[in-house]
């Protein structure tokens, strides 16, 4: 493994936006990567090249451009298979993002298989996109939604899972591999083993994990896996749903339309092969191509190096935060159990006010509920501020963040 320093030194040059000055000519310090990441030139160029040289609709036409566009589109499917270790490319469905992926499952699998009295299990630290679709599906099917609780360290209480599984009514357990608020890395292996023993399917929300660490879907052994391109250097508007083939074959079609059909007659229709049965209509071709370039970029750096870089940065940031009086960090301090996401509150100052004051210094952090209101309720806070890192962030940026808190203290007379 190359030393983290030399590897990451030159990365910032690939990201034009990092040169931006904002507000009163302040250097941008972008620390909202859990929300969306910036894009390297390599990704932007891939999209431009696609439109300038290859753009056509895919799959159906025989002419040269269509051949090139189809090849570019399908090659990203192969890159994804390789990136997260999926053996059968036909199990990979392109969607807009994690939210659409989970909703697709809730409709095409959930509405087909859930019956009255069945239970779906989620966790207290899920993103809304892994809660609301299951509220909707279970309500419609008169099934129930249950939660795995979280302890004060920000880790899931697996005893809860045991109790719920013991009812024998659980059909699906769904959880994020990394919390977008606390950064907690879920002990997925343990959950999946329990579920397998009970004959229960598992869905992993990989939105926060895939961008930041090596993920091996085959080894995890789950049944559904979802993530978003825009959180891993890719364009907005593209994401992935993977479903184990034996499960995928039991799913009803979701969207009807072009490309997902085999034969359409007036009153009956047959479906296309996998994965196309679930990709209705003209897909987001250019962004699939751009997403492929993002995967190439990450692969070149190496996911283990990325994880290492973020561990170092997070450790540094937590140490520095700890020195600030009145600053409270949520979640575990065991760095091996968390990603580069730090949620905090500063004395009695509302996170919105914190974010606004430090925005003046060029710093972009998120404040609010982070689409995790159930977790906010559990933590008994209205909101938190959140700094989240990626490959291009530096210790100097952490220092700017820490310094900016002085200004907050001054304004609010702390």
């Amino acid at each position: 493994m190359q030393s983290s320093e030399s590897l990451f030194e030159n990365i910032r040059k690939d990201f034009p936006i990092l040169e931006r000055k904002v507000r009163d000519n302040k250097q941008l310090v972008y620390l909202d990567n859990a929300s969306t990441t910036q894009k390297p030139n390599q990704v932007i160029d891939a999209i431009t090249d696609y439109y300038q040289n290859h753009n056509a609709n895919i799959h159906r036409a025989v002419y040269a451009l269509a051949e090139e566009a189809t090849e570019a589109y399908e090659s990203t499917r192969d890159k994804i298979a390789n990136f997260i270790n999926i053996k059968d490319r036909r199990e990979i469905i392109f969607v807009r993002g994690t939210t659409e992926a989970i909703n697709l499952v809730s409709y095409a699998w959930g509405r087909t298989h859930l019956k009255e009295g069945d239970i779906v299990v989620t966790t207290e630290y899920e993103h809304h996109s892994n809660i609301v679709p299951w509220q909707l599906a279970t309500q419609e099917k008169h099934a129930k939604l249950e939660y795995i609780g979280m302890d004060d360290n920000g880790e899931l209480i697996l005893d809860d899972l045991d109790k719920i599984l013991a009812t024998g009514k659980v059909k699906l357990v769904t959880f994020s591999l990394m919390s977008n608020v606390l950064g907690t890395i879920t002990d997925a292996k343990k959950i999946i083993d329990k579920c397998k023993a009970a004959g229960v399917l598992t869905l992993i929300d990989g939105a926060q994990a895939v961008p930041h660490m090596k993920v091996d879907v085959e080894e995890l052994g789950c049944d559904f896996f979802a993530f978003s391109g825009h959180k891993m250097l890719g364009p907005t508007g593209i994401g992935v749903l993977w479903v184990r083939k034996s499960v995928l074959e039991t799913m009803s079609p979701f969207h009807g339309g072009g490309d997902m059909i085999r034969e359409v007659h007036k009153y009956e229709t047959t479906w296309n092969d996998l994965p196309y049965k679930f990709e209705a209509g003209t897909p987001n071709i250019a962004d699939v191509v751009g997403f492929g370039a993002a995967i190439d970029y990450l692969t070149k750096i190496g996911m283990d190096n990325i994880r290492q870089h973020e561990i170092e940065l997070t450790k540094y940031a937590i140490d520095e935060f700890s020195k600030v009086k009145g600053l409270h960090i949520y979640g575990t301090k065991d760095i091996s159990k968390r990603g580069g996401v730090i949620s905090f509150n500063f004395a009695d100052v509302h996170p919105h006010d914190v974010a606004q004051i430090i925005d003046e210094e060029g710093i972009a952090v998120r404040s609010g509920h982070h689409c995790a209101q159930v977790l906010m309720e559990r933590l008994d806070v209205a909101a938190t501020s959140r700094a989240s890192f990626y490959i291009y962030n530096t210790r100097e940026e952490v220092d700017v963040l820490i310094n900016s808190l002085n200004k907050v203290a001054k304004v609010f007379k702390l």
Partner: protein, 146 residues
């Protein structure tokens, strides 16, 4: 307008010591709403006698802007007739605190309580059915606020 400029003395003070903060036990109308973007939420309770707002209190969670604006709004409203309370406009609140040029995303913090007030008023009118037309108009007004 952005950044620290808006955090003048008055706002910081109101945020720690809001006016009219609390509940009214035997209110004539109450309304709850929240800001989907940040999770802030405000409840307003009112006593209404003879078509006049005789008492008003708010409670909930919110940032300094939200707390200050709720304080100012309830202060302005208290004692007004329903007719006059309906006419309160966003600049009546923002102006009081020098927040007229707040950026879009923060405007929602500032105006959440005004939205709740308007909603509470049309709920009251709705419960006292004789002014259904007014009610719809107020509802539209509230939903057009931002």
């Amino acid at each position: 307008m952005s950044g620290a400029d808006i955090y003048h003395e008055m706002i910081v003070d109101y945020s720690r010591n809001p006016i009219n903060y609390g509940k009214i036990e035997n209110h004539d109308v109450t309304f709850h709403d929240s800001n989907p973007l940040c999770g802030d939420s405000i409840d307003i309770d009112m006593k209404i006698d003879d078509d006049k707002v005789t008492d008003i209190k708010f409670h909930g969670k919110g940032c300094a802007i939200c707390m200050a604006c709720s304080s100012v709004l309830t202060e302005i409203t208290k004692g007004k007739s329903i007719e006059d309370a309906r006419k309160i406009e966003k600049n009546d609140v923002l102006g009081e605190l020098g927040l007229e040029h707040l950026q879009a995303v923060r405007i929602k913090c500032a105006l959440l309580s005004l939205k709740v007030l308007k909603s509470a008023l049309y709920t009251y009118l709705g419960n006292n059915m004789d002014e259904a037309q007014d009610r719809d108009k107020l509802k539209e007004e509230a939903s057009n606020l931002y």
